[in-house]
């Protein structure tokens, strides 16, 4: 069953994308570590970290695409799951600092000493172990999404209402994490990390490894989402996106299916956040800001929702553009981003990848039709297009 899942998931474009990602996971670290700094093919470490960050963004966009593109749930709170995963990782990294903090307390992170706390809050227990933190990276966002989704889908909150409620959720979390009493570092968040799994977090090797891990995580998630989308379950998911009531009347438990997709998506977002935090070196409540979640939506929209490659392309395109833009004309970035929102929704509703696929499919159909006229026998179907 697992092999069939894998075989189904690896349709050609996905297989190519996974192969590229695996290749990147090897080549970029190698070029960074093995070539001399003046070598023409050398990749500087800051670029490795930057692109590692983009890959985590791409993973977040892919997670959103699973619920938005295939299930019709426009979540405006996906950055919240990303940030929750990031906080779980951040807590592990904080515990790794140990007695090397500015206050030298072996147990308490600096901000707790600063707040005059005497002992570690219960929810910080266990985060000194990597496996526990890694588990929490997946479990916490998954659980939040499960509880939230269970309430929301059960009472058939959908469409824009759901979007607004997810936005309210991330807003509430934003406010909550800003509080010092919450025990997550308040306004400043968690930072000053030293080690991850015993390796210095600033070292080139660790950075390259984190890049490779991000690429692998993205490739793995691509396989999983592709498997979900390509399965029978995925087809029903698309059906409920396009006609929810009809799907329900056909006897499918629509809310269970949505809940499953939402939870899986949140877990993926959590993993993305956990890989993001060691690469940028900080996690603070700002990550919960509703604007962040909406930005993820635009990455997905630019790339093309309903395609699995689209969100990855979109996240890298938009964030690459952001890096260039904010360096060159800092005040114009928001104009550009705002314009992107308007133009993409008006003129490119399928996104870059979706539009390209659409054109390719049309060309192929035209060619097939021409061939059919020529030979009349060749009935090869155009490959079915991915759902829009």
């Amino acid at each position: 069953m697992i092999t069939s899942f894998l075989v189904k998931s690896l349709d050609r474009t996905i297989a190519v994308a996974v192969a590229i990602l695996l290749l990147l996971a090897v080549i970029v670290p190698a070029l960074n570590l093995l070539t001399a700094p003046d070598h023409p093919l050398h990749v500087p470490t800051y670029m490795v970290s930057l692109f590692g960050k983009y890959l985590t963004y791409a993973l977040l966009a892919l997670a959103l695409d699973l619920v938005w593109g295939f299930c019709g749930i426009l979540s405006l709170g996906h950055a919240a799951f990303f940030a929750l995963g990031g906080y779980a990782m951040g807590m592990y990294l904080m515990r790794q600092i140990g007695a090397r903090g500015s206050y030298g307390n072996p147990l308490l992170p600096d901000f707790m000493v600063f707040l005059n706390w005497k002992e570690l809050p219960w929810f910080w227990y266990g985060f000194d172990m990597f496996w526990f933190a890694a588990l929490m990276v997946i479990l916490v966002p998954g659980l939040v999404a499960f509880v939230f989704g269970w309430f929301a889908f059960r009472s058939r909150v959908n469409g824009v209402y759901l979007s607004i409620i997810t936005q309210a959720m991330t807003y509430a979390l934003l406010l909550a994490f800003f509080r010092n009493d919450m025990g997550f570092g308040g306004n400043n968040g968690l930072t000053d990390f030293k080690d991850i799994l015993g390796f210095n977090i600033q070292a080139d090797g660790t950075r390259a490894a984190l890049f490779a891990a991000s690429a692998l995580a993205l490739a793995g998630s691509l396989v999983v989402t592709s498997g979900i989308v390509g399965s029978k379950f995925g087809k029903v998911l698309v059906a409920l996106r396009d006609a929810e009531s009809r799907t329900r009347f056909l006897g499918y438990r629509v809310e269970h299916m949505k809940l499953f997709a939402f939870t899986v998506s949140a877990m993926m977002a959590g993993i993305a956040g956990a890989l993001y935090v060691p690469q940028v070196g900080i996690i603070n409540p700002g990550e919960f800001a509703p604007a962040n979640s909406i930005e993820v939506v635009i990455w997905t929209a630019v790339g093309g929702r309903g395609t699995l490659i689209g969100p990855i392309v979109g996240a890298i395109l938009v964030n690459g553009g952001k890096s260039i833009f904010t360096a060159a004309f800092p005040e114009f970035w928001l104009f550009a981003l705002g314009g992107l929102f308007v133009l993409v929704t008006l003129f490119l509703p399928k996104g870059v990848v979706g539009t390209a696929q659409h054109h390719l499919a049309r060309r192929r159909q035209a060619r097939a039709a021409a061939r059919k006229e020529d030979e009349q026998t060749d009935l090869e179907d155009a490959k079915p297009m991915a759902a829009e």
Binding site: L74, S155, A172, L175, V297, I298, F335, L346
Partner: protein
């Protein structure tokens, strides 16, 4: 001859009178100079002696002493009031109040004061100013005596009570007297009377007085005091609840203002306008611009600047809304999620435009006189600007309701939103109605901005703070129903303010959000749900 006698008599009289006046002044001067030599422990007596003279100059002297501005000259021990003047001290004669030149600081020694001296100064001043001819000063003195009741000042207060005619000052003085009585050794009947008085109009200030008296109360008085405390606490609770309701109404009116335009665009038309908050912001900036022009060109019109800004803000944001609807939103009808994204993009552009033009910092918008200040209503403090905003929000609501229910345009709007194709068949130009409805919603956001500029910081981020709250109000109240928005705004406002004292501001807000999310479980269509076929469309 007669004249000579007269002159001589007058001279004699003067001779007799002058030294007497001089002698009094001389006595006062001696007393003041004694301050310079007195030990800290003996200061109290000197201050009491000064206060006893009852001379008007004493007030200034004691004030200076309390503030540490009284210095003695090292050479001759003369005491002066001083003022900083660069590195020198400007000297003022304590008796005549005339300037006495400047000296370097080193030539003077400061008269030291500690807390017990300051207390003595305050008590003495209280007694002195209680008899001042200025009503405001008497009231202030009476209040300060009430806050720190001291048995020694009882006589002074009673003297003042005899002379006092003003009702407000009398009330305060009587309370102060009652407070002092409780600590004194007067007979129990008088004390009982005092407790009764404190209980009746004591308020918050009476609580510590009564609790202090409870410790040393004789038999028979204890029950009285306990009952009084209980009754005052009950009254306090009542007023606190009242104050919370007031704050809640005030917050609710702000929410209503922010959400009411959204109730049109989202509630009636179904457009998710994420740039709604930016319309509010544009309205606030219009107010700023209007005030700027008024201030520089027509300063006499300043009190009217808000009235001028209102129609301008409505027109400006309405036009922006019209352009938005015609330029972007109309292509996205039937695709609500895309509308959400496009309008979010527009909100980013608007924010950044304002930031580029006006800078990222807060802009100052002034309050006209009729919107500043506060008044007391029972135990409530009510600020005028909040009161006006509640009135304004309700007025806007009423006007909008009238427009939708009683005018041809409102009729067309409702027709188009209920059944577009049928309305179109009946000859209504639906695209025009769409555009006008959206412009109306945006214009109302603009006038909300005029009002909110009075209580909030006018900055490019002004709108962002309101957008989530306003959506919550509309969703909670029920989409497509203005009454729902009204009830939703005020109930969320009041709920928020009642949670705040227990949970803190932030946690209160989180709780409200969670409650709304739970509420939507029960009633996904809000408090006042639309019924009928339109719902499932």
């Amino acid at each position: 001859m007669y004249r000579i006698i007269q002159t001589v008599l007058a001279m004699l009289f003067l001779f007799a009178a002058m030294p007497q006046g001089l002698r009094a002044a001389e006595g006062l001067r001696n007393l003041v100079n004694a301050l310079g030599e007195a030990k800290l422990s003996a200061m109290d007596e000197h201050i009491a002696a000064l206060a006893k003279t009852g001379e008007p100059e004493v007030v200034a002297i004691l004030d200076a002493l309390g503030a540490g501005n009284l210095y003695a000259r090292k050479t001759d021990g003369q005491v002066f009031l001083t003022k900083e003047s660069g590195s020198n001290l400007a000297l003022i004669d304590p008796i005549s109040g005339e300037s006495a030149g400047e000296t370097p600081k080193a030539a003077m020694s400061k008269i030291k004061v500690n807390n017990s001296v300051r207390r003595a100064v305050r008590a003495a001043l209280g007694g002195l100013t209680l008899l001042s001819p200025d009503r405001a000063q008497r009231l202030k003195a009476a209040q300060s005596v009430l806050q720190t009741p001291d048995v020694d000042a009882l006589d002074a207060v009673e003297n003042a009570l005899v002379a006092e005619k003003d009702e407000a000052v009398r009330t305060v003085l009587e309370q102060a007297r009652a407070a002092m009585l409780l600590a004194s050794d007067r007979p129990i009947e008088e004390k009982k009377e005092a407790v009764r008085l404190l209980r009746e109009n004591g308020g918050r200030e009476a609580l510590p007085v009564l609790s202090a008296a409870l410790g040393s109360a004789e038999n028979g008085l204890e029950q009285d005091i306990e009952a009084a405390i209980a009754s005052i606490e009950q009254a306090q609770e009542f007023w606190n609840a009242g104050q919370n309701v007031w704050y809640g109404l005030s917050l609710g009116s702000v929410l209503l203002l922010a959400a009411i335009g959204l109730a049109i665009t989202f509630g009636v038309m179904g457009i998710i306008n994420m740039a709604h908050g930016e319309m509010v912001m544009l309205g606030a900036y219009t107010t700023f611009l209007v005030q700027d022009v008024v201030r520089t060109s027509f300063p006499h019109l300043f009190e009217w600047s808000l009235a001028i800004a209102l129609p301008l803000a409505f027109l400006f944001t309405g036009t922006v809304g019209l352009v938005l609807e015609r330029g972007v939103i109309r292509f996205l009808y039937g695709r609500p999620l895309e509308t959400l994204l496009a309008t979010w993009g527009i909100s980013l552009i608007l924010q950044q435009s304002v930031r580029t033009i006006f800078g990222p910092t807060n802009r100052e918008v002034g309050n006209p006189f009729w919107m500043s200040g506060a008044f007391e209503l029972g135990g409530l403090t009510i600020t005028w600007n909040r009161l006006w905003i509640i009135v304004f929000a309700l007025a806007v609501f009423a006007a909008l309701l009238f427009l939708l229910k009683k005018t041809p345009m409102g009729l067309q709007m409702r027709a188009v939103t209920q059944n577009r194709r049928m309305a179109s068949s009946m000859g209504i130009r639906t695209p025009l109605v769409d555009a006008l409805t959206f412009a109306l919603g945006s214009g109302i956001a603009g006038i909300a901005g005029v009002a909110l500029s009075q209580i909030d910081n006018v900055s490019p981020n002004l709108g962002q703070g309101y957008i989530i709250d306003s959506f919550m109000v509309v969703v909670f109240g029920g989409v497509g129903n203005l009454w729902g928005t009204l009830v939703g705004a005020f109930s969320l406002g009041i709920l928020n303010k009642f949670l705040e004292p227990y949970a803190g501001a932030v946690l209160g807000k989180i709780l409200v959000l969670v409650l709304i999310i739970l509420f939507i479980q029960k009633r996904p269509r809000g408090l006042f749900a639309l019924k009928g076929r339109a719902v499932e469309a």
